[in-house]
Amino acid sequence: MSLDNRKNGERRQNYTISAFSENHIGLLNRITIIFTRRHVNIESLTVSASAIKGIHKFTIVVNDTREKVDKVVRQIEKLVEVLKAYYHTDDEVIYQEIALYKIPTKALIEGDDLEKTIRKHNARILEVRPEYTVIEKTGYKEDYMALFEELRKYGVLQFTSSGRVAVTRSSKELLATYLKEAGELTAEYENN
């Protein structure tokens, strides 16, 4: 049977790809090449430590079809330094992003509605200086963008948001289970 994901009109949605690797220079490059070569846009990318000592985790968010993401993930997993790679839809992971806003302190002093906005959005103030104040908001993109819209009228001096960090809804790191099983038998591989 032939495969053609565009024809099937398969739905595009967010996928969070988690790739676990040994720490090696240049691996980030090898991973991103896999996306650029296939014209898949990376929405966000975070490199961090994982719960397992010495193992790094790449969290990559893309918006594409399951089929395309599946193929990309297999290519990532094929890289020599990558132990395992997984992908999940938004409901399969718990994820957060963090946003920072810098606004003039003047706005904070002159009237109390800014303070109310901060409370309403469950944001917090990180630092107050005579010229500016830095606010932090953790959440989903819709949430921190909503706050951004509200802060606009005070004049946002700087704004930035992080890539996604995510953990799965399963109780343990999937990789840990994999490594445990593979401890004796690395070649034991989950068949497609």
Binding site: M1, S2, R30, K78
Partner: protein, 579 residues
């Protein structure tokens, strides 16, 4: 937690105080390397100096261009199954390797490239002959690594060879900063046997084999497609046993050509764009496709949407990323075919599919009348590539290693040469690299000195690496070169004729006197213009003891047919083109 990399001790357990450059040589010897193809230059000179101290164990072949070195290593690797080793200097030396690395990557050829790099403190300063070779080669290597300290050498070499040759093989590049070549350290070699993050071969799941056997036993019109995976897995015998017990007709991708003898009664021929007629149309008539070590390249499948929609698919494959990449598998048997095929053979029923095979034979008759007869026994005056291959068959009975370049002659050779032996065909498949042939034939002869090696090459491709005649003269490797001279970039001209309204844009070549060129390089040559001379000329060529250059004047307007035009379905394979 277990070690990330597992190693085993080698015979020499004593540590030796030595330089990085010397350690490179010692590491190669530990890996069983006997031959290096390469070209020296500033950034790799310490290693070349160390080479002199080990010349009793390792030979070096000085090519005339780094591209010549890597293609030679590819030819060597393809006929021997060993890792081909290439050495080059930094900057231009390393960039000249890239085409060959890309070729080896797509054709899964085990290669280790060693390139010199500027001294570590100068990295990133645009120093003389500094290029980011790691960056450039990243998308076309299975793995690469920049060594900046001599202590890293043994460990990285051990990993490089392990990665290049295991699982689905591929090219690996090691870039060595000059300071690491000069620096001294205590050398000790341990072979790499495992890398935690790397699974070369998935373990075959008996459950999947059982499912595959069930489908095979139920099928009425099953059809086997095989590729280079059979050869890379050294599984020709296991494959043959499977085919014979199943009684199922089998067809091959270009790189699978010699995995089953051409004349085997169940060998139906070549797949894809310039494959056979029956093999293509039957793809859309079978009820089960059994793909063995092949990756459904677009040159094989034509339009994917109309590729075997009626058939169930079994895919035996070592590389998990190939499963469902182009064609969806109903049953995927992951693993080395060397292991999975015998398991499958055990579970299938012995069958006879002669009625189904007769359908192939009937289609083959049509192709014979319309195409093959005229290719092999032309009645027109001009010589055809097909008759050259036919005579070569008659004289060698397929008992030679055949190497080709890229173009019409490549397709004609694949279609008509009667491959008989394992690892007897070397050609650039996935990349279609013109200029591959001459150096690859040289490497093949170095790897298989007791075999006759015949190169079939076009006049376009020959001139891309013609300087390697100089290398061949220096080694006196007795390769037999047949130049199919049609004074054209034949394959491109064919497309122009068929799909661009005969607008022949830039495909005519004003060629040199090739015999003089060959002779200038010290290689004996002869030119054939007419049919009556061809037979004896080929015999003379085969009888000659040294390297030999035979030029055959080929009729210009010859086309390779049948053809599945680009974007067409395999069932739309055309047998003739109205001129």
């Amino acid at each position: 937690m277990k070690d990330q990399i597992e190693t085993i001790e080698t015979k020499t357990r004593k540590k030796i105080r030595t330089t990085g450059a010397d350690a490179v040589m010692r590491s190669l010897i530990h890996e069983g390397v006997e031959i290096i193809f390469g070209y020296p230059g500033g950034a790799i000179m310490p290693v070349y100096d160390a080479l002199m101290d080990h010349s009793d164990k390792i030979k070096h072949i000085l090519t005339r261009h780094e591209q010549g070195a890597i293609h030679a290593a590819q030819g060597y690797a393809r006929v021997t199954g060993k890792v081909g080793v290439v050495m080059a200097t930094s900057g231009p030396g390393a960039t000249n390797l890239i085409t060959g690395i890309a070729d080896a990557m797509v054709d899964s050829t085990p290669i280790v490239c060693i390139t010199g790099q500027v001294t570590a403190p100068l990295l990133g300063t645009d120093a003389f002959q500094e290029t980011d070779v790691i960056g450039i080669s990243m998308p076309v290597t299975k793995w690469n690594y920049l060594i900046t300290k001599p202590e890293e050498i043994p460990e990285i070499f051990a990993q490089a060879f392990f990665i290049a040759r295991s699982g689905r093989p591929g090219p690996v590049l090691i870039d060595i900063a000059k300071n690491a070549q000069f620096g001294e350290f205590d050398f000790e070699y341990r072979k790499c046997v495992k890398i935690r993050s790397y699974v070369p071969k998935p373990v075959v799941k008996p459950e999947k084999v059982r499912q595959a056997a069930e489908l095979i036993n139920k099928a009425k019109k099953p059809y086997i497609l095989f590729g280079q995976g059979v050869i890379l897995g050294n599984a020709e015998d296991e494959f043959r046993a499977f085919v014979e017990k199943s009684g199922i007709p089998a067809a091959w991708t270009i790189l699978g050509a010699c995995a089953l003898p051409k004349k085997h009664p169940l060998n139906m021929g070549m797949l894809g764009m310039h494959g056979n007629y029956a093999t293509n149309i039957k793809t859309n008539e079978c009820d089960l496709l059994i793909a063995v070590g092949m990756r459904f390249d677009d040159r094989v499948t034509g339009d994917l949407k109309r590729y075997a929609p009626q058939a169930k698919v079994i895919h035996l494959e070592i590389d998990r990323a190939e499963i469902n990449k182009n064609v969806k598998a109903d049953v995927a048997v992951l693993g080395d075919v060397k292991e999975s095929l015998p398991m499958l053979t055990k579970l299938i029923e012995k069958r006879d599919h002669s009625a189904w095979i007769k359908e192939f034979k009937e289609a083959e008759k049509i192709e014979y009348e319309k195409v093959i007869k005229n290719d092999l026994y032309p009645r027109k005056e001009g010589l055809t590539m097909g008759e050259v291959i036919r005579i070569l068959n008659e004289k060698t009975h397929g008992d030679v290693i055949v190497v080709t370049d890229v173009g019409q002659h490549q397709m004609i050779t694949s279609r008509y040469f009667e491959f008989r032996n394992k690892r007897s065909f070397v050609t650039s498949g996935g990349l279609g690299t013109m200029g591959f042939g001459l150096p690859a034939a040289h490497g093949a002869k170095i790897g298989a000195p007791d075999k006759e090696v015949v190169l079939i090459v076009g006049d376009g491709g020959l001139q891309m690496t013609i300087q390697e005649l100089g290398t061949i003269n220096q080694t006196q490797a007795a390769i037999k070169i047949i130049l199919m001279n049609n004074k054209d970039l034949g394959m491109v001209r064919q497309w122009q004729e068929m799909f661009f309204e005969k607008r022949y844009s830039e495909t005519y070549l004003l060629n040199p006197d090739f015999i003089k060129v060959a002779e200038g390089f010290g290689i004996k040559g002869k030119k054939v213009l007419h049919r009556p001379e061809l037979d004896t000329a080929i015999q003379e060529m085969l009888d000659y003891k040294g390297p030999y250059f035979l030029e055959v004047n080929i009729e210009k307007e010859d086309n390779v047919l049948p053809m599945v035009p680009a974007g067409a379905s395999v069932s739309e394979v055309v047998l003739e083109h109205k001129k």
